[in-house]
């Protein structure tokens, strides 16, 4: 028996375990395996292999039974995920249905999840703007959350490292608050975007319109061929999975790369129950896993554990990892685990038309947009709310068909498209302030089908968010009006937090173990062989789409873990 146990333990022992195969877990896996560590990646969902498991990727519009629409009964059963813009007939199989994985909403919160190889990296919007010190110094300057334990210079080489492998298309804009990176050629702005860019730069000091930096391959083909990826073909069907590997996902890039090292074991249907803590050793020794299908329990062991389960699930795993030493969750000596959750405020948008530049149109499709980096309260505090917002911006030529009649006249309308005005639109991406009362916790009674407590989410908007929505609408409306745009319309859809799919925090980084959970290397202060490098580690949110920062942090943390191991 003792022999069997030893055998079992040996078979289930790795150098490193990574919990989650999504955006940041894929990076942890790539870096760990490249550095020679035998690594087990645990994925709770099913396997989705690059290309092979993209069933809709080459379908034409007419091959979808409801032409993309999600049937009414599915929407009724799954109201939360149905509110996500990408939950359509072509990508619905990559989303978690409400009914499959319930959670408790103390306040309305749309938790959008992807449980499969690659997680949400298959589905993301692919914007990859770097942070700068105007972001990292935010909490210290403005007196909220805690000071970040790192600055831009700590992350800069890791941004570069990650960008090169990911493939980032972008323009070198020379902005101090949105640093340039390792860019492949930028995509073009449309004629109206070019016009707005030059209008804004002439008329609004400190405001810029740029082409967004996006995770699409637009050059250096030989380099990406080694990953089995090639140039973005501008299909704009990314959410189906890309057969060209034109955009970055764990499935197309980091995981196959890690697999090639021979050091990766990728296990699916592996629901992590908790991290095992050994009081005598003073560190984590492994992970308790429940098979999603058989419900069988297995333990896996490793010297170092990377927790990349996605922001809220990472909180859940730690809260559920209780022991004598940590009765309130692993590493939770100060009671702050699960607290200071924040997100991005995506509630508002402005649209309009432009009647100029009528002699131009666009050709082809573009999988990204223009971007207005944060300008509010950037270099100093200047409004009655804290922090600011970035904004998406896009403009394309309207196509009009007169479809008002029936019969022969309708047919004429269908075959006579005409160019209309340019249609322009913007949406806000606002920073929100992490607060102690914005928290997730374990439901004391309800559990899921694997016996794991349901997560209770208690996160909402505050007065700062309301003021910021108002300011965004005013500022963008004013800029649109000044630029000569017409028919300007504003919207505040009052969407619930979570639908931005940028939930962050709960296991924040900080300098002081009394007020934070993670140190500057993303290690739990109290359990140094557990690293958290997904959205849960975020001390503040700033305005940039966060994935590239998670990826850079994951690569940096692996480097640290391996150096520590060598000591």
């Amino acid at each position: 028996m003792a022999n069997l146990n030893t055998q079992h333990k040996q078979n289930n022992t790795y150098d490193a375990i990574v919990i989650g195969s999504g955006m940041s877990g894929g990076w942890a896996a790539k870096e760990l395996t490249e550095k020679g560590l035998k690594t087990l990646v645990l994925e709770r969902g099913r396997e989705v292999q690059h290309m092979k498991d993209y069933p809709t990727t080459n379908k034409y519009p007419w091959e979808f039974e409801h032409r993309g629409q999600i049937p009414e009964d599915v929407q009724k059963e799954n109201p939360i995920v149905s509110r996500c813009y990408a939950f359509r007939e072509d990508a619905q199989h990559f989303f978690v249905k409400d009914t499959e994985h319930p959670y408790v909403q103390e306040k309305p919160f749309d938790w959008i999840r992807g449980y499969q190889t690659g997680g949400k990296s298959l589905l993301w919007a692919r914007h990859v703007q770097r942070w700068s010190d105007y972001d990292f110094e935010g909490p210290a300057r403005d007196g909220f959350a805690v000071d970040w334990p790192i600055r831009y210079k700590d992350l800069e080489p890791w941004y570069a490292h990650v960008e090169k492998f990911v493939g980032v298309s972008g323009n070198r804009d020379g902005l101090p608050h949105l640093p340039d990176g390792e860019f492949l050629p930028p995509m073009e702005l449309s004629a109206v975007e070019e016009y707005f860019k030059s209008f804004v730069s002439k008329n609004y000091q400190g405001r810029d319109v740029i082409i967004a930096r996006c995770a699409h391959i637009t050059g250096n083909e030989e380099y990406y061929a080694k990953q089995g990826r090639t140039l973005c073909q501008h299909r704009v069907l990314c959410q189906r999975g890309c057969p060209f590997g034109g955009y970055f996902s764990s499935n197309s890039a980091t995981l196959p790369w890690a697999m090639k090292t021979g050091n990766l074991t990728l296990q699916h249907h592996a629901v992590v129950h908790s991290i095992i803590y050994d009081e005598a050793k003073g560190k984590a020794t492994g992970v308790k896993v429940i098979d999603a299908n058989t419900k069988e329990e297995t333990e896996y062991y490793a010297e170092v554990i990377f927790l990349n389960a996605s922001a809220l699930n990472t909180n859940l795993v730690l809260l559920n990892s209780t022991s004598n030493r940590f009765p309130e969750g692993l590493g939770n000596d100060n009671g702050l685990l699960g607290k200071y959750i924040a997100f991005h405020n995506y509630r508002a948008g402005v649209s309009g038309e432009y009647e100029g530049l009528m002699e131009y149109t666009t050709e082809g499709r573009r999988p990204t947009s223009a971007y207005i980096p944060r300008f509010r309260n950037l270099f100093k505090q200047e409004t009655d709310f804290l922090r600011g917002y970035a904004a998406g911006f896009s403009g394309s030529r309207g196509i009009e068909r007169d479809l008002s009649d029936v019969g022969e006249r309708l047919e004429k309308g269908m075959i006579s498209p005409k160019y209309g005005t340019w249609r322009v639109g913007s949406h806000m991406m606002g920073e929100t302030i992490p607060k102690e009362e914005s928290r997730v916790s374990l439901d004391p009674k309800k559990t899921d089908e694997w016996g794991i407590p349901l997560l209770k989410v208690d996160v909402g908007y505050d007065d700062n968010d309301e003021k910021m929505v108002k300011d965004y609408l005013e500022q963008v409306t004013e800029m649109f009006e000044a630029a000569g745009f017409t028919n300007i319309r504003t919207r505040d859809d009052h969407r619930a937090p979570g639908l931005d799919i940028h939930e962050m925090g709960g296991v924040r980084m900080g300098k002081d173990p009394k007020t934070s959970l993670l140190n500057k290397w993303n290690q739990l202060h109290a359990v140094s062989n557990v690293y958290v490098t997904d959205g849960a580690c975020m001390t503040s949110t700033s305005t940039q789409n966060p994935s590239i920062t998670y990826m850079a942090m994951a690569a940096r943390a692996v480097d640290h873990a391996v150096k520590e191991k060598g000591k």
């Binding site: 034409y60 409801h66 666009t362 498209p417």
Partner: protein, 187 residues
Amino acid sequence: MDRRNALKQLATITGGLVLIPSCDFSAEEALKAYENLGITERDQQTLTKIVQVIIPGKHLKGAEELSMQDFVLVMANDCLPEKERKTFVKGLKGIETYTKDQFGKTFGELNPTDGAEVFRSIMAKSTSTDKSTEVAQNFLGTTKRFALQGYMTSEYFLTEISPYQLVPGGFKGSVPLKETEIVKTNG
């Protein structure tokens, strides 16, 4: 009902236009819709007439040739909320009586040009006129919306009329327009 027999029956209903391959999801889906909505042969003929009034096939292929009557029913069955679905079925079942009452002829009896006139007349009526007009307008409006949606995303339309490119390969932000060129829909 045995699936094969059911498909055979559907083939009869639709005048034999639907072939019976081993797994044609569109036929099977249409059949489910017919069954679930309680659509009779007569209802089906009426709907076919009406989609043909909407897109009669003067400059393009007619709606019937693209089986838009089936697409409309699948969408009504699968994508309308329950209340609207019931109104749609009520509208379909009552439209010929309504048309006969108001215009002396059913859609079935009208040629495409006159059918289009009747369609316009119904849609132009004030909604406050009476409940039956509201139901008829709702039905015709929904039918037109789905027929157009299905037609303009059909293989025929997106290959022969307004070609859709699965792989555009690039993007140009400023392309000068030329008088003679066809409109770039960038689909």
